[in-house]
């Protein structure tokens, strides 16, 4: 992969659940080292876009390239092995497993597990709460801790691209702030981040570039700061202030 080549490149993808079309010809790309965000209202198709990367379901037209490889129809369990890792909407940690077992699940995607020790240490440093609760059942964690766990689980795979689906959903503002600060730190350590958010304010402040998704199509794109000051974005996604 060349340095100036996009790490993730969606070319005109359209996605449907059965007969219901959700995405209509979406194109976007993420360059290595960038933080890119996709904002949009509820039902715009943000989650669908992320899920289509994992073939759940695959786009019915268009192509997805990751690191130059066409992954459009790669089976779900093979995608993360290429270096994509998803922090899904609603966290989806394994509630009956301990915190440390959940983290170990992130390693499944790696053939080379030699980084496990140091990465685990980094995660516990980023989220000391997880270290304190490492033997506790994950289902007993608070929402914020579960979100930290979901992020930690994804980081265990040492992904080339970290995908996050609404990491701020249902969390107290203070915890959202912690999460975003941590994401900044993760990005500074060299992980490329693509983050899908309804909480546009936080996401745009963090992002290098941003896309706006409305009704299943990209309606606007620009740098994070550009969109933060854009009148339409302000009105629609930032509560008009």
């Amino acid at each position: 992969m060349k340095k100036d080549e996009a790490i993730l490149d969606l070319k005109n993808i359209s996605v449907a659940y059965g007969q219901t079309k959700v995405l209509h010809g979406v194109s976007l790309h993420v360059m290595p080292g960038e933080i890119v965000t996709l904002i949009g209202s509820n039902g715009a198709g943000k989650t669908t876009l992320l899920k289509s990367l994992f073939a759940t379901p695959s786009p019915y037209s268009g192509e997805i390239f990751f690191g130059g490889e066409d992954i459009t129809v790669l089976p779900t369990h093979m995608v993360s092995r290429r270096g994509l890792s998803l922090v899904p909407e609603g966290r989806r940690i394994f509630p009956a497993m301990s915190v440390s077992e959940n983290l170990a699940m992130g390693l499944v995607a790696c053939t080379d597990k030699s980084h496990a020790g140091p990465t685990l240490k980094t995660i516990y440093e980023l989220f000391p709460r997880l270290y304190e609760r490492r033997d506790q059942r994950a289902g007993t964690l608070s929402g914020g801790e579960q979100q930290m766990l979901a992020i930690g689980r994804s980081m265990m795979a040492k992904p080339k691209l970290l995908l996050l689906d609404e990491p701020s959903l249902g969390l107290a503002p203070l915890i959202v702030k912690t999460i975003f600060t941590t994401l900044k730190q993760i990005a500074a350590d060299g992980t490329t981040i693509f983050i899908v958010e309804q909480n546009a304010n936080q996401a745009l402040k963090l992002a290098d570039r941003a896309y706006v998704l409305s009704n299943g199509a990209i309606s606007l794109t620009g740098s994070g700061t550009e969109l933060l000051s854009n009148e339409d974005v302000k009105k629609a996604y930032l509560g008009g202030h």
Partner: protein
């Protein structure tokens, strides 16, 4: 109540119950991972009984006569072929129906069950088959005419069953493989997204379930000495009852349910009527399903969204 009869029935119950537990594991693990009752599981056990006889015959042909070696090698032989059978059944009869309506794999399972019964009946004959007694000897407690006993074979059954359960429990709780199984059970799609080939995990669960049924099959066959193509039905339904009693989907539940059902059946046979022990076991199944469908260790089912 005669103390010695009670003791004897408890011994018999524990022996019977540990074999129920071994078979119940197959029902409960498969249910846990794909939410389906594998009604062909009893037939898988039945096939392992035939494999026991075949294994013993082959080993005898090679002149092996040490009983412990015979039991060990027959066990390995039966486990290998029975788990292959379990995996094959899943691949051919259930996996193609993974996205179908819930009733479809259930009907498919009944079909597999009929195929196996009839195939075995046609190929091996409908009459009772037998294997020789390999381990003789009993351990007696009590006086000359008031005693209860445990045969060495019964001891072997209990020890092997405990060993098999302990190994299974270790694998499920403490290995990457077991973690993959539990992850698949808790959230299959998320497990896939994290890189687990869930089809392989499901196949593996069928393999493990069949392997434990084979352990039970070898032990029961060596203990009773006789079997026919129909033994899978009653034993299968009993083991299913044990799984439901313990809480279907729960591994410790299957073990506990097996032991409790074995004890209940054996005590009923000893003190009430041995003719009606099956009726009692199935009445118990109906009772649990009505009054405590989630079983002893199961969680009340929450409809998945």
């Amino acid at each position: 109540m005669d103390f010695y009869v009670l003791g004897q029935q408890i011994v018999n119950g524990l022996v019977l119950g540990s074999t129920y537990g071994l078979i119940a594991v197959g029902y409960t693990m498969v249910y846990g991972i794909i939410g389906m009752i594998n009604f062909a599981h009893g037939e898988v056990y039945m096939v392992s009984a035939y494999l026991t006889a075949i294994g013993l015959a082959v080993l005898a042909y090679f002149g092996i006569s040490n009983p412990w070696l015979l039991i060990g090698l027959t066990m390995v032989f039966a486990i290998v072929f029975t788990s292959l059978l379990g995996v094959t059944i899943e691949r051919l009869a259930y996996r193609p129906l993974r996205r179908a309506n819930r009733l479809a794999p259930l009907i498919s399972a009944i079909g597999v069950s009929l195929i196996l019964q009839n195939y075995v009946q046609l190929s091996q004959g409908a009459k009772n088959q037998g294997v020789p007694t390999l381990v003789e000897g009993v351990f007696r407690m009590g006086s000359e005419d008031h005693f209860f006993q445990i045969t060495y074979m019964q001891m072997v059954i209990i020890i092997v069953a405990i060993l098999a359960m302990a190994i299974l429990n270790f694998v499920v709780q403490h290995t990457a493989l077991g973690r993959a199984c539990r992850a698949t059970q808790q959230d299959r799609q998320m497990a896939q997204i994290l890189g687990i080939d869930t089809d392989k995990v499901i196949a593996l669960v069928f393999g493990i379930g069949a392997a434990l049924a084979a352990v039970a099959g070898v032990l029961i066959t060596l203990n009773y000495g006789s079997f026919d193509f129909f033994v899978g039905f009653v034993t299968g339904v009993k083991a299913f009852t044990a799984a439901v009693l313990g809480g279907i989907g729960s591994l410790p539940g299957a073990m506990l349910g097996g032991i409790l059902l074995g004890l209940a059946e054996s005590l009923f046979a000893g003190f009430v009527s041995s003719d009606y022990k099956d009726v009692f076991a199935f009445a118990l199944l109906v009772g649990i399903l009505i009054f405590r469908p989630s079983g002893l260790l199961g969680k009340p089912t929450v409809e998945k969204v």
